[in-house]
Structure formats: structure tokens, C-alpha cells
Amino acid sequence: MGKKLAITGNQALAEAMRQINPDVCAAYPITPSTEIMQRFASFVSDGVVDTELVTVESEHSAMSACIGASAAGGRVMTATSSQGLALMWEMLHIASGMRLPIAMTLVNRALSAPINIHGDHSDGMGSRDCGWIQLYSENAQEAYDNIFQAVRIAEHEDIRLPAMVCMDGFIISHSIESMEFLPDEVIRDFIGEFKPKYPLLDVDKPVTYGPLVLPDFYIEFKRAQHEAINKAKKVTLEVAREFEKISGRSYGLFEPYRLDDAEIAIVLLNSAAGTAKDVVDDFRNKGIRVGLLKPRLFRPFPYEEIAEALGDAKVICVFDRADSFGGFGPMYMEIASAMMAAGSSPLMVNKIYGLGGRDFMPEDAEAVIKEMTGILDTGKTGTLKEYIGVRE
């Protein structure tokens, strides 16, 4: 089917954007996502795409221009990282509140201060409540596959919400790996034509976007938004089934890895999950019943499905590559909510790892799983939230 190439994560996403050929892109440079737009700009300059590229003066304006362009009535994309996403924060809420299906690639990077350009999930998790659909990706292949699916989910008539596809900065964005590309016409057919809803450019049917909504209506709109994003669970699965037909690659709401009959479960997002899978295999070979769950759809969060997948585990360790200072990591809070709502009460611990791009090594996963076997034996957890790989 598709052709295989060794390529970086950023190049893969730029290639995906070329294939999507959006009507408008508005973006601003920021490490480590810059290369996506940089490569895309050369597609624009060479006439390989017919996108209007708006090279704005800030990420705030990037998202503002995306909002204007999307409301105008066409397909819109952007890319950013870290501080860029933080500067967009105000506008992220407005994109989702206006129900505009903008697609974004987020190359995950740590937040300042201190300034750091490397990969962690603080940016993505920090925008958790902005009303965007979030899909996380372990590697370049997943990021490439996810962005097409994100466009379909976002533009689905029951949803009409913006979506971001996340992948780890540098670890994936700048590393070369072998992956498969789908043919242009296959992608074109898969994503289909953009169907505008209330386009501003229809001057014969003038609409007002962004009115002042007082307490008499505000909560109704928020309730409707919750309903719409929750429908993304079902649509994500439908779109994944269609995507499997064109690619042979299957996706779900999350990826369970050797979770059946697992007594110990670890939850890990993005690239670190790949590292830990080998370690899980090693323990399994030793007869220890350990499994891994790698979330994919983080917003909306599939609480029931995840609780069911983790149902048999007696000990769960949730890894977070982002922190909520003075609280548990964001992923831990979601998993704990899922288990509690399902009436399960496994022993749960939270490990904060890899902030600011600190490597997550197989030895780290190994040490944690060993610790979990101890908890399983004694039935006692120590400190619930701990940092791993930190010098004393």
C-alpha cells in the first residue's frame, strides 16, 4: 500500500499536512514544532499545496487567525509547542466554545520557568480543560495516522470541535524512524471535503459569531459542548475502524498491552510507553503478571472503558510526564477517577518522570515494576506521589 521511509516525527506531520492540503494555516515558530510549519511553508512556496499560509506575529494571533479562518468556512490547521500553546490558551477555549473544527499538531514540550525546550506533557495537560479533543501518539507513525483521524473526528457533524494531536518533542519530533505513508489519493478520500456550517463568508446569510452570553444561556452552551465532546469517543472508534481499512493499522481509545489477567498495571503516555513495553515483556517472561495501558484519547477521557481494561489489576502505577504542583499528576487523577467511579479500589501510586526531557530508560520502568511487586505482596503503598530519576 503505502511507501516506507525513514523520517523524523516533524517531517511526518509536515507530510501529513501536505496530504491534507488545508485551506488556511496560521502559525508561529517555536521549538520543537517549528520544522513542521517550516517544511509546510516550502510546500506552499513550491505550489504543492494551495493553502493560504498566515505567518502571524505570535501564537495568540495564530489561533485567532485560525478561529477567523475556520468560522469563515474552511479547513484550518496549525502547529505549536509549549509556550506557544500557553500563549494560545485564551483562544483555545474560544475555538472550542465556537465549535470550530481546527486541527493542531502539538509537539509536547516543557513549560518555563526555567525555560526548557525538551519534551514533557505539561503543555498538553495544561490545555486539558480547553475543550479540545486530544489524541496522544507514541511515535511518528501514530502521530501521522492520528492527524488524519483527528480531522475526521473534529469535523464530524455531531462534534464540530477542535482537536490536537500530541507527540513528544525531540524524542519523536527529531528522531528518525521508519514509517509508512499512505498514498495522497487515499488520504484525500479518507478526509473528504470540508463541510462548512454557518460560514461567515456566506454574505447572503449573515451570522453573528461570539456574542455576549449572560447567565440565562451560558451554562446551556457549556452543557451542549460537554455532550459534543463526549460523542467523540464513539466517533473516534468509528473513524479508527475506517482508518484500519485503508492502513491496516488498528487504533482504539487506548492501547492495552498484555493487560489481560495483569495484577500489576502501569499507565504510560506517548513515547515512554514504547520503552516500557519491552520491560513488561521481561517481567512476563519471569512469570510476573504485569501489563501496560497507553492512553490515546485523553479528551474526552474514556473512564468506563479504561476502568474495565484495568479491572483486574490490584496495583496500578500511573506515570505522569507533567505535574500538578500540590496535587497528583493529571493522568493519575483521571485513572483514579475512572477506578473509583467503577467501584474498584486498586492500590494506586503516581510517578512523576521525564520532566524537561529527562530520559526515561528501561531501568526506570524496571525499578518501578519491581517496587509494584513489593506493594502487591505487602498490600501497602508508601508515598503515593514520587519523582523518579531525580538526584538527591
Binding site: 451570522v207 453573528t208 459569531y209 455532550e227 459534543a228
Partner: protein, 97 residues
């Protein structure tokens, strides 16, 4: 008026009915009302061009009655009215009188 429930509203708070603010009455804000005295009117239409509330009706280039459903009684029209021979074509009268 029964307010719409969350399933009935347009998505994203979009208002598809352009200019429906016309249905909203701001005339009740008035403390004083402009009165048009036709015989003093030279049809300059300054009242129309300077009205903040689009409340001077004009048909075939001639002004008609005020739109009291929207006029807030600011008095800009009366202030700007040149009138005829020193007599204003718009005067402000206290509401309720």
C-alpha cells in the same frame, strides 16, 4: 418567553438571525422623547445620519416619524437640528408629559 434548552440551541452561540436586535425594545430607556415638528423640517436628514440608534425613519429620502421602539431619547437629533428660521424641527419633551 420560554427560553430554549441546551439541545435546542444553535451550536457555539451562533446567532443566525441577522439584525434580530430590532425585536428588542430600547425605547423604554427614554427619559425624554424627541418630537418632530414637520413644518419646521427642512429635510436635511442630519437627525438621521447622527442618530446612534437608527431611530429616524426615512422613506424616499424624506424623514418620517421617530422609531420610538428603539429611540433612547439621547437628544443628539434635537441638538443637531438646524430647523427653519430659528425654529427647531425636533424638540425634546419629558416622558410622561
Amino acid at each position: 418567553m420560554k427560553l430554549k434548552g441546551w439541545k435546542e440551541l444553535e451550536i457555539g452561540a451562533i446567532i443566525p438571525e441577522a439584525g434580530n436586535a430590532e425585536q428588542y425594545n430600547t425605547g423604554s430607556w427614554r427619559a425624554s422623547r424627541p418630537q418632530w415638528i414637520e413644518e419646521n423640517c427642512i429635510q436635511c436628514l442630519f437627525c438621521w445620519i447622527y442618530c446612534p440608534d437608527s431611530s429616524v425613519t426615512v422613506k424616499d429620502s424624506k424623514r418620517g416619524e421617530f422609531d420610538y421602539g428603539h429611540c433612547k431619547g439621547c437628544g443628539v437629533c434635537a441638538h443637531e437640528c438646524p430647523g427653519k428660521k430659528g425654529k427647531k424641527a425636533i424638540v425634546m419633551v419629558e416622558e410622561g408629559n
